[in-house]
């Protein structure tokens, strides 16, 4: 049981450090800073214009398409990093695997392109 837990001790230390850092920072600044609030200081942005509507607007669905495409190809790139790091070790087999993976994504890319998902009318 002890051995099973000991692997996670660094994680526990990191957690304690992260929480401690936040608490200590807030506490110290609360103790040393002068307390002098006035309306301008309490507004959400100290410079720029005040917000005049709520943020709940209708957003064109086009944004979501772009976000989805971005995510898709972003994740593809992320997946390629570990592959590139061990590329020499896994050899031809790894190359073919990645090639197939990209071909499948390419089908999606061609489809999205042909359907006009990349155009902003």
């Amino acid at each position: 049981m002890y051995h099973a837990i000991s692997e996670y001790v660094p994680v526990l230390i990191l957690l304690a450090l992260a929480v401690g850092f936040g608490v200590v920072t807030l506490l110290v600044s609360f103790l040393v800073r002068p307390n002098d609030p006035y309306p301008d200081k309490l507004s959400p942005y100290e410079c720029g214009i005040d917000p005049f509507t709520t943020g709940k607007l209708q957003i064109p669905v086009r944004f979501f398409v772009i976000v989805m495409l971005f995510l898709l190809f972003d994740v593809e790139a992320v997946f390629m990093y570990p592959w590139a790091a061990v590329y020499k070790k896994i050899g031809w087999y790894g190359f073919v695997e990645m090639f197939l993976f990209i071909v499948i994504l390419l089908v999606g890319y061609i489809y999205a392109w042909a359907k006009g998902a990349l155009e902003w009318e």
Binding site: V86, K89, V107, I110
Partner: protein
């Protein structure tokens, strides 16, 4: 140092590769086909599905485990893959004209259907909880889109959104069940889970019991078993009718197959616990399904509740945990695919320009306006009720006799009483067809498209054929569950 990657046996996933290539190919081909000729994509998809089904047959008695034990090909997987491919082929046949009437004849429909089939095929071959989850998501995401395919129809969009929200929620629950199992056992591989439970004597572990509940809930959504059946009537009613036919058969079969694999192979030693759980669920599912179905006036909703009830009957097969029961489930899914898709096919036949045709009243006088369709509908209704000489009777007989053999007498009594209730509502349709007044002749007679007629005829003949000569299919079903004999 060179790391040698374990090279998987790619021959084992031949059918899956074929379906993937076909679906991706359809997406690309679709780009070059003009808007009014999308039927061609459907015909291409149909041809591909038939080829894949024939190719998959060659995997009968081909047994292999590959991808580091995550993927198995055995007869059980093959027989269920055939159910999916059959359901896909029939769905494509009944969709061709329907999509044109609904003005949503798009090529993506067929590609999505094949991606869904791919997910289900992965699901039944998975020997690892994570792979099951991947298959489930591939299937579910495609089905969400398909159920909202008539996107200018409010009911269809509502169906898709409801299905999506419930599905995402339940897939979270399933993942939690997988996580807890991994936490206790230290593996997601079903064989490794069984091994660890045996070695460490974990069969009464409370955390594992919670995991069992969560896994049952996760699969229970697709199966539409109580208490996770609430989405089914709304989704079935709102979805395009061919999609309803599809989701009432194929995803249900996939979830059942995965449930069997997880419960029998993975946590088979916990059988005394899950038998209690499934006893209660089965009794609830069939009673709620049948009693509520009797109150419906919309045939699609009625068949939705009836499909919930059928899930309850099929749970008897898992509950019994003997070869007859599991073979009964496999057989029942074939019978269910024939009769249910046939019944939905007749509803599609009633869909004409300007007439929706999914109310019981729309069936009035069908015996006069289209006697052949009415006759086949009676066959499907007989089969759904479980009356000989239909495949539905043989399926029910196998399931009930397996449950009797395992000693669940009271549950069988409940199931038989439920069958009597089901007779009442199924025959309301028959009564409307044969005794109802035909509508005035100004309304166009229901006349099916050639593809639809072929589909209904095929499933009608198969329903009768396997009702009269069930021997062959029963033997196949029995051979398919030999994988599980060491675990029973």
């Amino acid at each position: 140092m060179t790391t040698v990657l374990p090279v998987p046996n790619l021959a084992a996933i031949g059918p899956e590769i074929l379906v993937t290539v076909l679906a991706c190919g359809l997406l690309l081909v679709d780009l070059f086909i003009p808007k009014d000729r999308k039927r061609a994509v459907g015909i291409l998809a149909l041809a591909g599905t038939v080829v894949t089904a024939l190719f998959t047959m060659r995997y009968w008695n081909y047994s292999a485990t590959t991808f580091s034990g995550m993927f198995v090909v055995d007869n059980f997987a093959v027989i269920f893959k055939e159910v999916f491919l059959f359901a896909t082929a029939i769905t494509i046949l009944i969709s061709l004209r329907y999509l044109e009437i609904e003005k949503v004849s798009l090529g993506e429909y067929y590609a999505l259907m094949l991606f869904c089939t791919l997910g289900m095929m992965v699901m039944v071959s998975a020997a690892d909880l994570v792979v099951i989850y991947i298959g489930l998501e591939t299937m579910a995401l495609s089905v969400y889109v398909l159920s909202g395919f008539m996107r200018f129809n409010v009911k269809s969009s509502e169906a898709a959104l409801k299905y999506f929200l419930v599905g995402v929620f339940i897939s979270g629950i399933l993942l939690y069940g997988i996580a807890l199992t991994y936490g206790v056992v230290g593996s997601t591989n079903l064989n490794a889970i069984a091994e660890t439970i045996k070695l460490k004597g974990l069969k009464d572990n409370p955390v594992l019991m919670i995991a069992m509940f969560l896994l049952a809930a996760g699969f229970g959504l697709e199966i539409a078993m109580a208490p996770f059946h609430f989405w089914a009537p709304d989704v079935y009613e709102g979805s395009p009718t061919p999609v309803t036919a599809f989701i009432s058969v194929a995803p249900k079969a996939a979830a059942f197959a995965a449930l069997i694999r997880v419960f029998v192979v993975g946590i088979g030693l916990m059988a005394p616990h899950w038998q209690v759980l499934l006893w209660v669920i089965a009794a609830l599912t069939m009673t709620i399904g049948n009693v509520t179905a009797a109150l419906q006036s919309n045939v699609k909703r009625m068949l939705a509740y009836s499909s919930i009830a059928h899930a309850g009957y099929m749970l008897l097969g898992i509950l019994a945990a003997n070869t007859t029961g599991l073979a009964g489930v496999a057989f029942y899914f074939f019978a269910y695919a024939f009769m249910n898709m046939g019944a939905f096919g007749v509803i599609i036949l009633l869909r004409r320009e300007g007439i929706v045709g999914d109310e019981v009243d729309d069936f009035k006088g069908l015996a006069h306006t289209n006697p052949m369709a009415a006759l086949l509908m009676v066959v499907f209704l007989l089969s759904l009720t479980g009356i000989p000489p239909t495949a539905g009777f043989i399926g029910k007989f196998l399931l009930f006799s397996a449950a009797i053999k395992a000693g669940f007498y009271w549950l069988v009594v409940i199931a038989v009483l439920n069958s009597v209730v089901s007779l009442f509502y199924y025959f309301r349709i028959a009564q409307a067809m044969y005794m109802g007044e035909a509508p005035d002749s100004s309304i166009p007679r229901p006349q099916g498209a050639p593809s639809l007629t072929v589909a209904i005829a095929i499933v009608g003949i198969l329903t009768l054929f396997f009702g009269i000569y069930p021997h062959h299919l029963v033997e196949l079903a029995k051979a398919s569950v030999t994988t599980f004999i060491p675990f029973l």
